[in-house]
Amino acid sequence: MSSPVTVWRHHKNIRNYLNKRGKILVWTKVFTAPAGFEHEAPYFVAMVEFEDGYKMPLQLVEVEEKDLKPNKKIITVVRKRGKVGIDEVIEYGIKAKPL
């Protein structure tokens, strides 16, 4: 888990990536997850290119595997990230959903 101060710092940047539109370049379905993500597996992660040309890797939500294809349009959304304990700070992050 991340410390409360790093979560606070990270949350201040979320607005910079919100509601951005772009397209999927490539994607993968992760079956073997790293620590903190095991409960979400399997999940999709894509390399996304925004309309301004900036690229970043984003977890995909609200997506069906059969609908995934190159150049699929997406929009960024805020979602809970990773797993937290009962007395830990919930961390939110940017993910992408298909349009």
Binding site: V26, V30, T32, P57
Partner: protein, 377 residues
């Protein structure tokens, strides 16, 4: 550049439950020093390549840990460059020899991975990635899966061509008694193995491995033997998303080009190579980016059996990372040992005929660090 490989030492690779990182490091080091026919007191410096032990076991300051266990009080360093830690340690040791600071150096690459659960190892390895990649829940198999998909989209590389990399490297490993998996596998076994990160399956992936490799290097001795004639390093962005292309590793291209220039040879002169097949797509990219075949033709080139023992240029005769094993910090040093044994004509059943020039390529992360060496006899 002429740096002699005076001695080599290599442990068995695998899940070595009864041995610690230090046990493995000492076993390989003592063997290398003995093979070099020198007194250990003549070692001027020790370079230790390692990535993970600080994270998974809390042991840092590894240079003096290994040196003092050998009874040495010389200069000692730990070198970290993700999966290229071993190759980087060799490179830095060579710089010390070329500068005249040292005459004989010991380079040890070592990793002890089986003590930690898979999820912890996966997390620890992701230290070599970007924070954005970690926050997205990516793993190295997942990052290489996206490189695989990009190559398949652009060049039509097939799932079968990728799987053949594993089949070939297991064929080689079956001839290597030090390999973690010294047995052959079939194309169907690779294709039907459990999925890790689509399109990558379990048998596309290098394993979690314990092991150590050590070499004694010396400044030009003018004696007969195997010499490192080129040592080049290049880097690229840590974050895959910031690369111009997902179908090439520019650091491999740059380091490869520089190494060939240093050695004064052409890629067509290379008789064998050990390249970084952490995942099957990585060997395809290495073949293309080093210039063994045209861009986009790597899958077809490997499937043609040109890189299988008996082919035009055998690649990963040790079994590669896939089948010999991938104790992260040891891999770059093990590659040097495999090529040295080939050039000494002492590789046994996996001996490449008339081997006189070999190349190694060691990759950190998804290509943020690449080390290329050329060896000649």
């Amino acid at each position: 550049m002429k740096i002699q490989v005076k001695g080599v030492g290599l442990t068995k690779f695998g899940e070595l439950w009864d041995k610690s990182l230090l046990d493995l490091s000492l076993e390989a080091s003592v063997e290398a020093i003995k093979d070099a026919l020198i007194d250990e007191k003549n070692i001027d410096a020790v370079f230790v390549g390692n990535m993970l032990i600080g994270k998974i076991a809390g042991q840092d300051h590894l240079g003096p840990v290994v040196a003092s266990a050998l009874g040495l009080n010389c200069a000692a360093f730990k070198v970290e460059g993700a999966c290229a830690s071993g190759g980087l340690a060799v490179h830095l040791a060579i710089q010390g020899l070329l500068a005249g600071t040292y005459k004989n150096v010991l380079v040890v690459g070592a990793e002890k991975m089986s003590d930690a659960p898979t999820s912890q190892i996966t997390w620890a390895l992701m230290g070599a990635s970007s924070s954005l990649e970690r926050k997205a829940g990516l793993t190295f198999p997942a990052l290489y899966a996206m490189l695989s998909q990009a190559h398949m989209q652009k060049y039509g590389t097939t799932r079968q061509q990728l799987a053949y990399v594993s089949v070939k490297n297991h064929f080689h490993a079956a001839l290597n008694p030090k390999a973690q998996y010294p047995f052959e596998i079939t194309l169907e076994q690779v294709l039907n193995s459990s999925r890790i990160a689509s399109p990558i399956s379990l048998l596309d992936c290098s394993p979690i491995t314990d092991g150590a490799a050590a070499v004694v290097l010396a400044a030009d001795t003018n004696s007969k033997g195997v010499y490192i004639t080129a040592s080049a390093v290049a880097s690229d962005t840590i974050d895959l998303a910031q690369r111009e292309s997902l179908t090439e590793l520019k650091a491999t291209q740059a380091a490869g080009k520089l190494a060939l220039k240093q050695a004064g040879v052409e890629i067509t002169d290379i008789k064998l190579a050990e390249v970084h097949d952490c995942f099957t797509i990585a060997e395809v990219l290495a073949m293309e980016d080093l210039g063994f075949c045209p861009k986009g033709g790597g899958g077809k080139f490997i499937s043609s059996k040109a890189t299988k023992l008996g082919g035009k240029c055998p690649v990963n005769t040790s079994g590669g990372l896939k089948a010999c094993g991938h104790p992260v910090g040891a891999t770059g040093v093990k590659q040097i040992i495999e090529v040295t044994q080939q050039l000494r004509n002492s590789a046994g059943k996996r001996q490449v005929k008339e081997a006189n020039i070999g190349l190694t390529q060691n990759v950190g992360g998804t290509g943020a660090t690449v080390v290329v060496h050329v060896l000649q006899n």
